[in-house]
Amino acid sequence: MSEKEVKNLEEIFEARIARDEKIEPKDWMPEKYRQTHIRQISQHAHSEIVGMLPEGNWITRAPSLRRKAALLAKVQDEAGHGLYLYSACETLGISRNELYDQLHSGKAKYSSIFNYPTITWADIGAIGWLVDGAAIINQVPLCNTSFGPYARAMVRVCKEESFHQRQGYEIMLTLCNGTPEQKAMAQDALNRWWWPSLMMFGPTDAESVHTAQSMKWKLKRKTNDELRQQFIDQTVPQADILGISIPDPDLKFNKETGHYDFGAIDWDEFWQVVKGHGPCNKERMNARVSAWENGEWVRDAAMAYAEKQSKKKVAQAS
């Protein structure tokens, strides 16, 4: 294809996105669009899978049967999200094994928040309330993103996430209406999860490298800082209802802007965790890699068995 022809295709492509048309896997797309989407969708899928670990940590110790069942269902939902996000990603011409390799080798990233430990039951509430809450704010705009399979996957993901968030908040509410020990547990969880949750929206707009292109392709509708502000404005009143305090002495409502002003985020911590040196990066990666390596003989057996079965069928037919 000549340069001119490519340019022509690109123009048609950009015009389709501008008209809010969906791009489907078999449509022509610029290589950069494909690569950006593989990066973002797989990162999202990996986050779901790694995200199963900190919450899975409490399945065996959930405090009641109702909570145990709800947590099992929630972690199972996350596995399901991972599954259809990987599938959406595979439509872009990359295999699931390649995607896993990227995760296991550290080449692909996942949401840094899952590198923090879940040390009390209240962390399960805080993750639902804050982490899923932040995820929803990040993800709702993606229901209208330009790449069809991703947009459709996100519709379902968002519905389930919003259920998880209510569940998480309800755990917090129960703790805050409980004994002093339970309320202290809730406060402690908020103290530890608040700042990492704010970091989930990514670097400030000034530092963010992908924003402009992502806006154009509708992978983003609002900037990191706008989304972060939205999260804070939404969450502060919820903490007030719980009767626990957000660990930020600079947090206060600004009547002029109509938003909450907040203190400085520790970006050194953010980058430390992103670069692999958070409290649980090694544990999370080890857990994923071990599951994959320990499961190899099982996957091999399934392949070998399927081959034997199809040979048998062929033999019977002839």
Binding site: R61, A62, P63, A69, E181, A301
Partner: protein, 251 residues
């Protein structure tokens, strides 16, 4: 307690679901593939769901203000009446599937009879459980075949698991005194009569999976009387952790 025998009979069934569900819950996020991970979590979820129905019923025998969680979390180890099979650890995926299948075949037979119990609550729980347990058995049976007749390595691992877990199968058919009492009333099920059909079915599937049927005639039991394996204390330490550490709180 007014009906101690029926209470213990319910536990004898429900504790199997709780303890196996707990064991499967340990695997969440660590399965050999995303699909098996989802399936195992799903089975765990079914079993915990069944457990809740049984315990909600059982809690009524304990008196007012008692709930499913009192039954689930606040008993001593020797008051749990599950069979030894279900508390065995997740040594590897072969063990997980062997434990599952050896239990599922029995579990389905039990549900199919229990749905005709004179006790309408137990009958209703069983009726609801049949569909779930049929799926569990299909899933575990399919994996026994895949692993048994897959690669050399998987065959060896599957055989190892079957050999090790076989000794726990006979306990499934043992009846306690309470079981006999409740069965005499038309509420419980005479599980001893399943034994032949069970071994026929399991044997046929293991053969299809190219596995050897263990010849050992030595079996181990005790779980149904509250005498458990060394694994049980650790399992309960996790299960009961919150309720024991923070007593008398709502969650």
């Amino acid at each position: 307690m007014e009906n101690q025998a029926l209470y213990k009979y319910i536990l004898g069934i429900a504790d199997n679901s709780l303890i196996l569900g707990q064991r499967l819950g340990e695997l969440c996020g660590h399965g050999p593939s995303l699909e098996t991970d989802i399936a195992l979590t799903n089975i765990s979820l079914d079993l915990i769901g069944q457990t809740r129905s049984y315990y909600q019923y059982a809690a009524k025998f304990l008196g007012e203000n008692k709930t499913e969680d009192d039954v689930a979390f606040l008993r001593l180890e020797n008051e749990y009446l599950n069979v030894l099979l279900v508390e065995q650890p997740n040594t590897h995926f072969g063990y997980v599937m062997a434990r599952q299948y050896l239990f599922d075949v029995f579990h389905l037979m039990l549900m199919e009879e229990l749905q005709h119990s004179k006790d309408i609550t137990l009958a209703a729980i069983a009726r609801k459980g049949i569909k779930e347990v049929s799926y569990h058995k299909r899933f575990s049976g399919d994996w026994i075949k895949r692993l048994g007749d897959g690669t050399e390595e998987s065959h060896a691992k599957m055989q190892e698991a079957i050999n090790d877990l076989w000794r726990f199968t006979e306990e499934l058919f043992q009846m306690t005194e309470d079981d006999r009492l409740v069965t005499g009333e038309g509420v419980g099920i005479d599980i001893s009569k399943f034994k032949e059909a069970y071994y026929d079915e399991v044997t046929a599937l293991l053969r299809e999976a190219t596995l050897t049927i263990p010849e050992s005639k030595f079996f181990i039991s005790g779980g149904k009387e509250g005498r458990h394996s060394e694994h049980m204390g650790y399992l309960l330490a996790d299960l009961q952790y919150m309720q024991r550490t923070y007593p008398n709180m709502s969650w």
